[in-house]
């Protein structure tokens, strides 16, 4: 198997880090909103999801 990395073809190192950090921030924001945010509406909407993912809830 070739030892190609994502940086080898499409992304330069700085692009790779930019994309990675952006992905981490947006991803953390989405997971926080669905799983942890202390809002009743968000909680009730995501209730079953929070329980089945094992997020601390209630």
């Amino acid at each position: 198997m070739a030892t190609s990395t994502i940086s080898s073809t499409p992304l330069s190192l700085s692009d790779r880090l930019t994309a990675g950090v952006m992905a981490l921030f947006i991803g953390a924001f989405l997971v926080f909103g669905a799983g942890l945010a202390n809002s009743a509406v968000l909680h009730d909407t995501a209730h079953d999801t929070r329980h089945s993912y094992g997020f601390p809830c209630h």
Binding site: S4, G27, G35, H43, D48, C57, H58
Partner: protein
């Protein structure tokens, strides 16, 4: 190109989120519904139709769930009876009316939450992969997924097992803090153990993974519960199995999309 990479992660997350919704309906959701029968007398908040949404809202703003502060006016009593928030369901410190966004059904709410959570985990997985420079491929996608599951579900579950509604638990903020710290430490620890060659790194990784458990997860003072223990055991296994399937789907689909649509350009 950056946008394309992020979109690939989001699409993989959405696919995994749809899969997760189907998988949840098999075992996890029925167990949650079953447990809610023991949680309180009134039906769950999410099943209540939006009765007088306009009228209920202002009263609920000042509404406090402590029994000593119960509203005494007839209107207050009426709203109490109609309120979807039951004492068992309410959470301390909340002052807003609950209910599912946009008046969706319970299932739609769960589906939407799964799509959002799936995209979020998809982006986090891709973000880790990009930052540390190890691409997710079709071949190693399942391993990426398994490591995600270990970091986000299995290792934190040692201290805080997946809970059913109505389970006794310590203060929410403490548990969330411990959970977040454990996920972060486990992820860094797994990176050190799995991807670093040096023995020192591997040992340091194990120390990081063990640290939150040595510190100890916040535990409730009173562990009595109305929910039968059998349901709890079944739920813990079902939740961990379902999330493992979710993460493997997420990893494999991420690898497939990366190879097929991102690298191809």
């Amino acid at each position: 190109m950056i946008v394309r990479t992020l979109l690939a992660a989001i699409v993989a997350g959405l696919i995994a989120g749809v899969f997760m919704t189907g998988a949840q309906e098999l075992r996890v959701t029925p167990l949650i519904l079953h447990a809610e029968e023991f949680e309180g007398e009134a039906p769950a908040a999410t099943e209540q139709p939006a009765a007088q949404p306009g009228a209920a809202q202002p009263a609920a703003e000042n509404h406090d769930q402590h029994s000593s502060l119960k509203a005494v006016s007839p209107l207050g009593a009426l709203l109490d009876a109609l309120s979807p928030i039951t004492p068992a369901y309410a959470h301390e410190g909340e002052h807003e009316e609950g209910g599912i966004m946009f008046g969706m059904s319970r299932f739609s709410g769960t589906l939407m939450a799964n799509l959002v959570t799936g995209s979020g985990f998809g982006l986090l997985l891709a973000g880790v992969s990009l930052v540390i420079g190890y691409p997710i491929t079709l071949r190693n996608g399942a391993l990426w997924g398994a490591c995600g599951w270990l970091a986000v579900h299995m290792l934190p579950a040692i201290g805080l097992p997946p809970e059913l509604p109505g389970f006794p638990a310590a203060e929410l903020g403490d548990r969330q803090t411990w959970w977040l710290a454990t996920v972060a430490l486990s992820a860094v620890g797994l990176y050190l153990v799995v991807l670093r060659e040096e023995i020192v790194s591997k040992v340091a990784g194990l120390v990081l993974i063990a640290a939150p458990h040595v510190y100890g997860a916040p535990q409730p003072l009173d562990i009595s519960s109305n929910v039968p223990a059998v349901l709890g055991a079944e739920f813990a296994v079902a939740a961990l199995a379902t999330t493992l399937a979710f993460w493997i789907v997420l990893g494999v689909v991420s690898g497939f999309i990366n190879e097929r649509f991102v690298k191809a350009q």
